[in-house]
């Protein structure tokens, strides 16, 4: 069940929101915010600390989990049929969508060309209860041209929730004007463990 109200309720309540002390409250709130703009107020955590295990909980219980591997085959995206791209159909970005690895939620995407030093992958992990859990993400792959698959991602360890940022993935060799891009495959595996 959502904590927010449906549209009708909100409208009904807002209609009676004004009070005689509202102006003073607004002034005080403005001073408390210290000039913070809406985006800063909206994006900042409402409360910091709720995500940690309360009291002794984390010491008593710890859950690990693995994510089924995500495999992406490069897509032929060039007009002449020679360019290969990690995204779907002529560029863009391919999202894995949220997947569970036990209690952890994993998001990832790939985009860019198989060649040209601009293929990228990014992985985001949520649900870690530090310091009792750790999530390890690994990126590997292969190329059909006999060249090497290059991954700057390799293995990244998340001790807290966060994102890897975009990391280079590509195939070495091929991909010039006279040579078709190689086909590539990239594989993401994620495992979460208790410490």
């Amino acid at each position: 069940m959502s904590a927010t109200e449906g549209g009708e309720d909100v409208q009904a309540d807002q209609a009676g929101a004004s009070t005689g002390t509202g102006v003073d409250r607004r002034t005080a709130m403005k001073a408390a915010l210290g000039g913070a703009v809406a985006a800063a107020v909206w994006t900042a955590p409402r409360i910091e600390g709720l995500s940690v295990a309360p009291d002794y909980a984390a010491a008593a219980t710890c859950t690990s989990g693995n994510m089924a591997g995500w495999t992406v085959n490069s897509d032929n995206s060039g007009l002449t049929g020679t360019a290969e791209d990690w995204g779907n159909g002529g560029g863009g970005r391919q999202d894995m969508g949220a997947r569970a690895a036990g209690p952890f939620t994993i998001n990832a995407y790939v985009q860019g060309s198989v060649n040209d030093d601009n293929g990228r992958i990014s992985v985001t992990v949520n649900g870690i209860d530090p310091p009792f859990q750790r999530v390890v993400a690994n990126v590997a792959g292969n190329c059909n041209n006999g060249g090497g698959f290059r991954s700057n991602f390799g293995t990244i360890t998340f001790n807290t929730n966060g994102t890897s940022g975009e990391q280079l993935i590509d195939c070495q060799g091929g991909g010039n004007f006279t040579q078709a891009d190689p086909n590539g495959q990239v594989r993401l595996n994620v495992s979460g463990t208790c410490l």
């Binding site: 904590a3 600390g49 859950t63």
Partner: protein, 403 residues
Amino acid sequence: MAAGQRPIHAAGLAQRTVHGRIVAWGDGEPPVVLGPAVQAAWPFLDGTATVAELADDLAGAAGMPGRDALALLTMGVLDLATAGLVTGVEPLLERWEDRPGRPRVLSRTERIVDGVRQMVTELAVQRRDLDRATGDQTSLGEAAGPTSCTGRRLQLDRPAEVVTVAVRGRPLCVRTDDPELARWLAPVADDSLGSGPVAAFVTRDPRPGTGHRYAVYDGNTFLVGDGTDVAAAQAAVVACLVSHHPPADRPGLAVRAQAVERDGRLVLGPRDVLRRPRGLHRQLRRSGVRPVAPSLLIVDGVEPVVAVPRARTLADLDELVLDRFDLRGFWLQGDAALRADPARTLAALLRGLPADPGQDRQALLDRIADLVSTTPCLVTSEPRPRLTDLASTVAAHLGAPSR
């Protein structure tokens, strides 16, 4: 209806403003730091203004759409209620699956064993839930599953003997599979008081060559002793027994903490500060630093001094002596963001220093905040440093010359 409710500060909440940010601590919940929107509305959560009225003012103050402000403040109030900081929003909470008081479900599994369907729900429990369910007859360590991380650490998956002894008129138990330790406990064993919570878990692993390696955990799963010396393990068991229940007439403020000391100086940290305890213990010992055995420490209300309750011998468990140490600072593990924000540092520290039932949280919050502002607070950051470097840093914190 969320927007029409009038949230009000919960009775007995503790709060403190640290560098402009509010650290608030509700009963039975971990302390938190309020975000900017919630903090702006915080002074007005007095039961007179509705969430809608507050959201309307927040929208005007922050220059954000009213609907966004209402959504933000509604969730903020739910967060506050979850943290035990506001009441007056019960109708909203009833409609919220994650409402306070509901056990946090970690996983649900279903399996068929010999044709019988078994459903297993894994829950996160809090100490107060455990006390409520067992009447303080079960320690946290006993609640761990035998094959869980904690259970394996405490060797609950192995058979062991449970010896009951009386401490200040109450039964407490020691769990051990070591015949020598059991024989040592025999003279004070007393089954006439019935069963009690396990206050000490003694684990034993074969040591290469001869003998064993011992580890002693208290009822709250703090590692309070680790080594090959039987006498040290026995001392750790005594420390667990005398500190399981706080002494009634204690001076100062009792906290559950992990402390390390060197030459009468002490650094105090949350439970998880020795998160890789055994290896870190070894490195600390090489720097002349040793963990303080009991997890129950008594912080002086005036001087930067910490008293550690101790019994002289196993036969004198009711006669406590207090060893006094100069508090040289605090130590916690966290990231750079934690280190940069004093309010977050304080909240993180207090989250790892759980108050015993009946503890005056405002007094503890104020005292720890005062001490953090006047003594060094060491925050070791991820990625984790090498254990030797970490031990040297902590030793330097205690005044040891660099190695």
